[in-house]
Symmetry: D2
Subunit: 140 residues, 4 copies
């Protein structure tokens, strides 16, 4: 588990809620994605849209996402999302996204992403490439 | 007013509705956008993502959107959206999107879009260009 | 034109952008809606979800929304949205939402909403009711 | 594994895609949710919004969602989603959602939901209750 953590707080919007008055599940995956980009910006010091240029990759595409919904978040609730990399592997990594409402865990989510670049032999192909050690070091 | 009309029916989803149990307003603009692409596909016989290649344009970007919400659409409602070009001008055009629920007009919407291409002198610039007469003829 | 203005800044997310790399139009209407609720919270001192209880209304439903898209907002752009009530009428009001990117106006939007309550004779019916003078005074 | 399967086809919309030109991950969870409601409608013969009245439940809230993204789906792609209940337990059940593009599996998703009702002793509380055998039988 790395220690660099991205925390942000926001208030649940009317348009994020469903007829049960609680956040519609797909919206939580939007929050995860936004926090992943912000965590990488915080760690690497480059704006999300400059990530590609700075590291010669095409991005950090998602290969897996999941969430346990433990408590609902309602319109007007102030929530906090705390995100960090749980584990780096050779060319992929797991992110943890924990959303709390009033200090209680509401959503326990995760993503798996890859460090992806164009194939040097065939630029039409995209594949996972090794994550540089200096990138991983920034999340320690 | 041109006569070619794109009609499609669908059932309102849970995730499209807000805590009042009715479609959240932003969702109607998603419906308008999807119908505009489908109308162009129907008129011009090319798939939406091939529109650029077929006509040398970069797309039909939106410059204005608007909607009057007359009646709510609820979860489970079967709605119909009927879309057509209201008026072609030299390089822009107005679309009309009318959503009905049970035969009654629920949303009266509209978009203004431009026929946009890269500037031949400066490819970094994008601008409105004249709409070919043969394109307009397809909507008659 | 009232003077109370709600300003908020945020960074455009990956998931808010379309294949052209710019904010998808429907997303701006989500931003308008969220800002309208926040403006009312700022003016009236009640949380958005308490608006109904505090004023005996069922809400401030949208009857019309519109936007001019003047410049695109891209992934990573820091945008500001400034919202205020343009005009109060007897039981409805117009809101103005202006989104700027780098100080330049990108989206010029508006909403018309009504001050809505249940009919005292027939609680199944919802209708526009006069906006209290003390509510309007809070936006001056 | 139950055998009743809900299949539907649709074309990927511009507004469902991100700057990489592929469906933004959160959108797949919208598709899962919509298909779960439609599967229950197909099995039980009641419209989604009538599910509560017909079975004395408040709904089938989601407690867990997950997806593996194997291949991207692009703007204009015709996709099929096939959904069925993988397993019924006493008061919860697992759904499988498989999205294919051109016959190839693109997204392998799943949800866990509960059969939820108000507590008869304390109506403010909601909890999982046993799924009636006749409900389960409809999915065989």
């Amino acid at each position: 588990m790395t220690s660099l953590t991205l925390r942000r707080q926001f208030t649940i919007e009317w348009g994020q809620c469903d007829p049960a008055g609680i956040v519609f599940n797909a919206r939580f995956f939007e929050m995860f994605d936004a926090s992943s980009w912000l965590l990488f910006e915080k760690a690497l010091g480059v704006k999300p849209h400059e990530l590609s240029d700075a590291f010669g990759i095409i991005g950090i595409p998602l290969v897996d996402a999941r969430a346990d919904f433990l408590k609902p978040a309602k319109f007007g609730d102030v929530v906090e999302i705390a995100s960090r990399v749980k584990q780096f592997r050779r060319s992929s990594f797991d992110l943890e996204h924990r959303i709390t409402v009033g200090g209680e865990l509401a959503v326990d989510g995760g993503e798996t992403r890859v460090w992806a670049a164009r194939d040097t032999a065939d630029p039409d192909k995209i594949g996972a490439v090794p994550i540089p050690a200096e990138v991983i070091a920034k999340f320690a």
